[in-house]
């Protein structure tokens, strides 16, 4: 009975430890840990009867930075997470990191709004960009893994099927199918949409094409002239590129 209770407690605390994010120690250097490359893995707990796991101080405090950093002019923070670093992490680690970054982003947004309210400069606003790029990178990595899994299981790359269609202006676009409760031939609004174009639009397609070609030619000639100017100014660099 006691053994069963202890085992149940062990299981619960293990699952809790796996679910909860790491406890935040109230140190000023804590901000560094969030962006550090090596995310500490969850340690396996020893088999003891009474387990004392550190309860993380959650709650509304997490909307605000460590109290030691309030009023500082700048707060140190590491670099954002790179895609290559994230590819080496397990999906569970990425999931936990996503929520850590989300809470950090909420904290920074709170600080930004409060600094605007108090008409004071926000300490280290570059942290927001770093968090956003990290979250974008996590999204990319998860998407890559999903696509790989989907290709192996079903053979499709995209989560939603679709096709290339022409709109009434002659432009070609990717139309992805949507889930509807009724079929398309009963949808009055959808039937008014035209996925074809009439012959008089061909003239405008030609004009659009000419415009795009002119723009591309302009960009290429600009690039060529810029390169020539650089080669004239720094002839030794030009020699190196030709030799390569």
């Amino acid at each position: 009975m006691a053994a069963a209770a202890a085992v149940a407690a062990l299981g619960r605390s293990l699952s809790a430890a796996l679910r909860l994010p790491r406890a935040r120690p109230g140190l000023p250097g804590m901000a560094l840990n969030l962006y550090h490359k090596n995310l500490p893995k969850v340690e396996t707990l020893p088999q003891v009867k009474f387990l004392h796991t550190t309860v993380s101080r959650r709650g509304l405090e997490e909307f605000f930075d460590d109290p030691g950093n309030w009023g500082e002019k700048s707060v140190k923070s590491g670099d954002s997470w790179n895609i290559k670093q994230l590819r080496g992490k397990s999906s569970e680690d990425l999931h936990k990191l996503w929520y850590v970054l989300l809470k950090e982003k909420n904290m920074l947004l709170t600080l930004e709004q409060e600094s605007k309210r108090q008409r004071k400069p926000m300490p280290s606003p570059e942290r927001l960009e770093k968090v956003e790029t990290s979250m974008k990178n996590i999204d990319l990595v998860v998407r890559e893994r999903e696509i790989a899994l989907r290709l192996l299981q079903t053979g499709h790359e995209k989560p939603v099927p679709g096709e290339w269609r022409n709109d009434f202006l002659g432009r070609t676009f990717w139309y992805s199918y949507k889930e509807w409760p009724i079929p398309w031939h009963l949808n009055k609004k959808h039937k008014k949409k035209r996925f074809y174009y009439l012959p008089h639009v061909n003239h405008f397609i030609r004009l659009r094409l000419e415009k795009a070609l002119r723009k591309r030619a302009r960009q290429q000639s600009l690039e060529r002239t810029r390169r020539k100017v650089l080669e004239r100014k720094f002839p030794d660099v030009a020699v190196k590129s030709q030799s390569q």
């Binding site: 509304l60 909307f63 605000f64 996503w98 809470k103 709004q113 600094s115 999903e146 409760p181």
Partner: protein
């Protein structure tokens, strides 16, 4: 892992008897703001993403932040479109949703002062002293002859 919630997220269609929608990596932001009008002690004011519902906000706070929520009320604040830029085009301030969350279990919350006055360390103090002395010197240079009693010296002898 599959569904990510946020702006421009496409959720599967729900029909009666279908599965509950689950979002695994929500991109919704939520920031605490200092209330403009004094609120009761258990009420916290947030600015949330426009797509969040009261249920979403409750689940967000309870699951991610472990905060007991008793009640949530939301409203959308319209951002004004009156200001004009140098081209006389109207500049819109973005709309945002405000949520008033009442905490459960008798908890109270007071918005803290995030910019307390701190003692300046020796480096900033010396820099400030240096800057003040420099400004004083510049002002003295600008002043004209003290015998003229503050009268400018671009006219007269």
């Amino acid at each position: 892992m599959a569904a990510a919630g946020g702006r421009r997220a496409v959720y599967p269609l729900f029909q009666r008897g279908g599965p509950q929608l689950r979002i695994f990596r929500p991109n919704f932001f939520m920031l605490a703001v200092r209330p403009g009008v004094p609120q009761p002690e258990d009420t916290v004011q947030f600015r949330v993403s426009m797509e969040m519902t009261k249920l979403d906000i409750r689940n967000y706070l309870e699951r991610i932040y472990n905060v007991p929520v008793a009640a949530v009320r939301t409203r959308i604040q319209y951002g004004a479109n009156n200001k004009r830029n140098h081209r006389n085009q109207r500049v819109k301030k973005p709309d945002y949703k405000v949520a008033y969350v009442q905490l459960g279990q008798g908890q109270t919350f007071q918005f803290p002062n995030l910019f307390p006055e701190k003692e300046q360390d020796a480096e900033t103090r010396s820099f400030d002293d240096f800057r003040d002395k420099y400004m004083e010197k510049e002002k003295q240079k600008e002043e004209g002859d003290p015998r003229r009693g503050g009268v400018p010296d671009w006219f007269g002898l």
